[in-house]
Each structure stands twice: as C-alpha cells, then as structure tokens.
C-alpha cells in the first residue's frame, strides 16, 4: 500500500478561475429566463412608459430614461440572478461542494461575477440598441463603453452576491434584493434627471452604485466624457472590490 504524498495541490489560480468560470457559465441554463424577463422586458416597458412622459420634458430627460434603463436591466437582470445563485448555493449545499474543492474563494467569486457579467451582455445590448431606436433619442457611443459596461455590471453583481450571503432564508435574500432594486432605481439621478428629483433623493443617490453606473453610461452614450467618469469608475471599482472581498470572506466563515 502506498503512503500518501504530502505535496498534493490543485491547479494554479488562473486555471482554477477558468474552470470555475466555465462551471458558472452553465448557469445560463436557468438564468436566461430571468435575463429575458427581468433584464430585457422589464427595462423595455419601463423605458417605453417613462419615455412617453419624458418626451415632453426635453432631450436630456429622454436620454436619462435611455441610459437609466440599462442600469435597470443590470439591477433587475444581473443583480437578481447573482443573488439567486449565491443564496441557492448557501441553502442547497452548493457551498459545501465549492468549499471542499482545492480552489481559492476569491477565484470562485471572481469567476461567478465574470460569468454573470457575460450572461448579462445580451440584455444590456438589446436595451442599449432598442432604447434609443424606440424613443428616437440620438446617442453617440464612445469607445470607452467597452470598459464602462463591465465596470457597471461588476459592482451590481457583487452587491447581488453580498445580498445572497445575507438573508436568513433564501426568500429573505430575494425580498431584500427586490426592495434594494426598487430603492436603487428610484434614488438618485438614474432614470430621472436630478433637477426633477427632490434634493434628499439626489443626496441619498450618492450612496447608491446605480447612480455612478448611470452617470458613467450617460457619458459614454450621450457625452461629454469628463473627469466625472474617472470618479464614477473609481467608486464602481471600490464597490466591486469591497463586495467581492466581503463575499469571499463570508464564504470562508464556516457555517454555525
């Protein structure tokens, strides 16, 4: 009988991430329905409903509706899908499987967020293309959009993962996410220009990543791109890093 070697290790971190990313991509088998319904149809209805009102309020209001609804697509599609995935993992034993594989937790969280980022792209593209067409709002796409879309998706996916790790039950996580989704859509200048919002809502909007995502998207779809984009990207990166670090740490905390 051979003795057990003491130098067993799994794969290098990059190979772990690639495997986990492919494993997480298999979530499309259930998440496409949510992406289609919540990530595409919900923002399209919201876009049409708000767009008819905004038409009378000028071009700026119309462009807020167009860009804001891409954020709505990310909130309703990506954030909810990631929350569902994480809370399902927690309550159906999936974390046991991941935690007993020789993989880094950070690699797992990064793989999950990256997979859902990719899975959210079809809804975002549909909303970004159909929105301006349906409302007749002219947009001027800046190449930086290629950086901005992932930068907007990642923090919302991260917040979704954190929400999934939070509730005491799967249902509680889902309810909390639904509430936060509505709050983040309404607070701050996401779909409505700031001069149409009460002052306290504009102020509270500073604490919502959706506000920074909407601002970044407006700059690369409508213009002009200013130094404000740097601030937006910085805040979105901090939210991404903080939420993912918190989720990785929390996953490592053994369940009691």
């Amino acid at each position: 009988m051979s003795t057990t070697p003491l130098d067993r290790r799994g794969q290098p971190v990059l190979a772990q991430w690639w495997d986990l990313f492919q494993m997480e991509l298999t979530n499309w088998r259930w998440s496409w329905r949510g992406s289609l319904l919540q990530g595409t149809i919900t923002p399209m209805f919201s876009l049409l409903a708000l767009g008819f009102f905004a038409r009378d309020s000028g071009r700026e209001a119309l462009l807020y509706v167009v860009t804001g609804n891409i954020v709505v697509s990310l909130l309703f599609g990506t954030m909810t899908s990631v929350e569902s995935r994480v809370s399902w993992l927690r309550f159906q034993g999936g974390l046991d499987y991941v935690a007993t594989l020789p993989v880094s937790r950070a690699a797992f969280v990064l793989a999950m967020v990256a997979a859902f980022l990719l899975l959210s792209l079809p809804s975002v593209i549909v909303t970004a293309v159909l929105g301006p067409l349906l409302l007749g709002a002219p947009v001027h796409i800046h190449p930086l959009i290629l950086l901005v879309i992932p930068a907007c998706t990642a923090p919302l996916a991260g917040v979704g993962a954190a929400l999934g790790m939070t509730g005491r039950t799967q249902q509680q996580s889902g309810n909390l996410t639904f509430l936060l989704m509505l709050v983040m859509t309404a607070l701050g200048p996401v779909v409505v220009p700031p001069d149409r919002l009460p002052g306290f809502m504009v102020f509270l909007g500073h604490f919502s990543p959706a506000t920074y995502a909407a601002s970044a998207l407006r700059q690369v779809m409508v213009g002009p791109v200013t130094m404000r984009l740097l601030v937006d990207l910085l805040v979105l990166s901090v939210v991404t890093a903080a939420s993912m670090a918190w989720v990785s740490r929390r996953m490592g905390r053994q369940e009691e």
């Binding site: 009988m1 051979s2 003795t3 057990t4 003491l6 067993r8 290790r9 799994g10 794969q11 190979a15 772990q16 495997d19 986990l20 492919q22 494993m23 298999t26 979530n27 088998r29 259930w30 399902w88 159906q92 034993g93 999936g94 046991d96 499987y97 935690a99 007993t100 594989l101 020789p102 993989v103 937790r105 490592g252 053994q254 369940e255 009691e256």
Partner: protein, 301 residues
C-alpha cells in the same frame, strides 16, 4: 500503519444549544482502512464529519489530517479528501460529464487525465448514458451516484461519504459497496462513511464507530466489538403495525420500522423467553447470532 486523521477531545456546541452535538470525541483513522459510522439520526455523525472536512469549526479539541491541523489551511483538506455531503443539489446546472471533468481537473489532474477520469467514473458507476444529462434531469438515485462519483473524481487518497447508499435501490446499494471495496483494495483509498445500512455495510467495514447523543460510544473492529456481546442473540419481532407489542417483562426492544422490533437477549435466557412469547399476537419472529446491526442496537439504542 500511518495515521490519516487524528481527532482529539473534539467538542462541538451549536449556538443557543445547551447540549453538545459532539462531546469529547477522540479516535484515529488509519491509512487504507474502511471506517463506518453508525448511529441514530441526531447522534452527531454529520456534525463530526463536517468538522473533519473543515466545513464547521470545533468548539474545542483538535483535528489533524496527515499530521497537519485542518483548521489552519482551508486548502489542506480539499487537497486530500473527497467529500460527499448529504444534500443533493450542489451540481444542478452541470451535466454529469462536466461535473466529473471539472472536479477531477480542479483536484490536480491534467486536462487529458481529467477527461479519462470522467470516462472511467462513468463506466465504474454505470452512468455512461447519463453523461450529457443535467443533474436536475436525474432521478434521486442517479443523483446520489453522481455525487459519489464526484467525490471520487481526481483520485484523492481519502473519501468521506455522508450516507452513500441512502434511498438507493438494492442493486445500486450493492454497486456502491462493490466500488468502495474495489478502490480501497486497488488504490489503497482510505474511506470513511456514515450509514444506517449496517447489515450491508458489514461486508466492507473494517472498523466501526458507534455514536449516541453526540458521544462516540464504541470504536473498533466489528469482530472485537461483537465479542462483548456474543453471549447475546438478536431477536426480531414482527407485529401488525396497528397492534401494540405485548412482550414479556424485562424486554426492551428498539423499533426499526413500524411493527418491526429488535432486541438483544442473553443466550441462556433465550428458550425461557420464547416460551413466554405470545405467538398468537406475533406476525413473525427471528433469532440470530449478533451482526453489525446488533452492535449498533446494543451501543446506540
């Protein structure tokens, strides 16, 4: 023989509970052995193995795997131990072949070896036709076999299996015991499992641990433990489920299933006792020499 796991004075309290789920447990698992845990539901078996795979933190005590504490390095257990949890939904989105391939690769195999491992496991567990099916499309028994195969993927030196044969049909239960026996014999894999299936597990178990109310009340070879009770015989009694058993005084049976009772009696008392049994009220009775299940009943019930 090398020690794979050493558990010393392990105690586990869950928050807001006054009695421990595991109480001052100490034992060792040796390399290449098949070790079975028996005990009633709630005896603390799952809590114990979850601590061994680092999914739960002990309140006090120490667990070492191959001489290294499991708590210090989350990767240490994962590098050596394939764990099959009780819950069945971990792999829902993946096809059977994907789950086996990715698990084998993540556990250190090359991509080519992981593909080969996938095919070997599909054949070993008679799951070839299920390769492209998603876990959600499998029956309960197929899903359990998949989780067993996933635990084995990557050929780790230690396997910890939480109820590997629960809810399986007899043919599949036999397959499980045959496969575990085979990999233990051919690869020297150390196997630790929890089971309620004492009679069938007896074919493969080399050492057994019996738990009751959070305590490990007996550890040893079934043969050695049986010697403590070999002056006894097992009496099984079958009543109509709706008829309460009427038994001679001093007999304290344990109900295995509705209407199916089991107890251990002293050899010298057997004939007197049988004379006192009211055979009119019994559907059936059987008398055996002790089995592993009797050890379980003796220590755990």
């Amino acid at each position: 023989m090398d020690i794979v796991y050493a558990i010393e004075n392990l105690t586990k309290f869950y928050p807001k509970q006054t009695s421990p789920a595991n109480k001052d447990i100490s034992f060792e698992i040796r390399q290449g052995e098949i070790f079975g845990f028996l005990g009633d539901n709630g005896a603390g078996k799952t809590t114990l193995v979850r601590q061994m795979v680092n999914l739960l933190r002990p309140t006090s005590g120490r667990i070492t795997l191959l001489g290294k504490p499991v708590a210090g390095d989350p990767q240490h257990v994962a590098a050596y131990v394939g764990y099959m949890p009780q819950m069945a939904h971990a792999l829902n989105n993946m096809a059977v072949g994907e789950a086996l391939y990715f698990t084998a690769h993540l556990r250190g195999m090359s991509r080519a070896d992981a593909l080969h491992e996938r095919d070997t496991l599909l054949e070993l567990w008679h799951m070839g036709p299920l390769r492209d099916k998603y876990s959600t499309q499998l029956s309960g028994g197929e899903r359990r076999l998949l989780r067993l195969a996933v635990a084995m993927a990557g050929r780790l030196p230690v396997l910890i299996l939480d109820e590997p044969t629960n809810e399986l049909a007899p043919q599949r239960r036999r397959l499980v015991w045959d496969v575990l026996s085979q990999i233990n014999r051919e690869r020297g894999t150390t196997i630790l499992f929890i089971t309620h299936d004492a009679i069938e597990a007896e074919k493969v178990i080399q050492r057994v641990g019996i738990m009751r109310d959070g305590e490990l009340v007996a550890v040893g070879r079934p043969g050695d433990l049986k010697r403590h009770i070999d002056q006894k015989l097992r009496l099984e009694l079958f009543f109509a489920p709706d008829a309460p058993p009427q038994l001679p005084a001093g007999l304290t049976p344990h109900e295995l299933q509705p209407g199916h009772w089991i107890t251990l009696i002293e050899r010298r008392e057997a004939s007197a006792l049988l004379e006192h049994l009211d055979l009119e009220r019994l559907d059936d009775f059987r008398l055996y020499s002790p089995t592993l299940e009797d050890l379980y009943v003796h220590y755990a019930a």
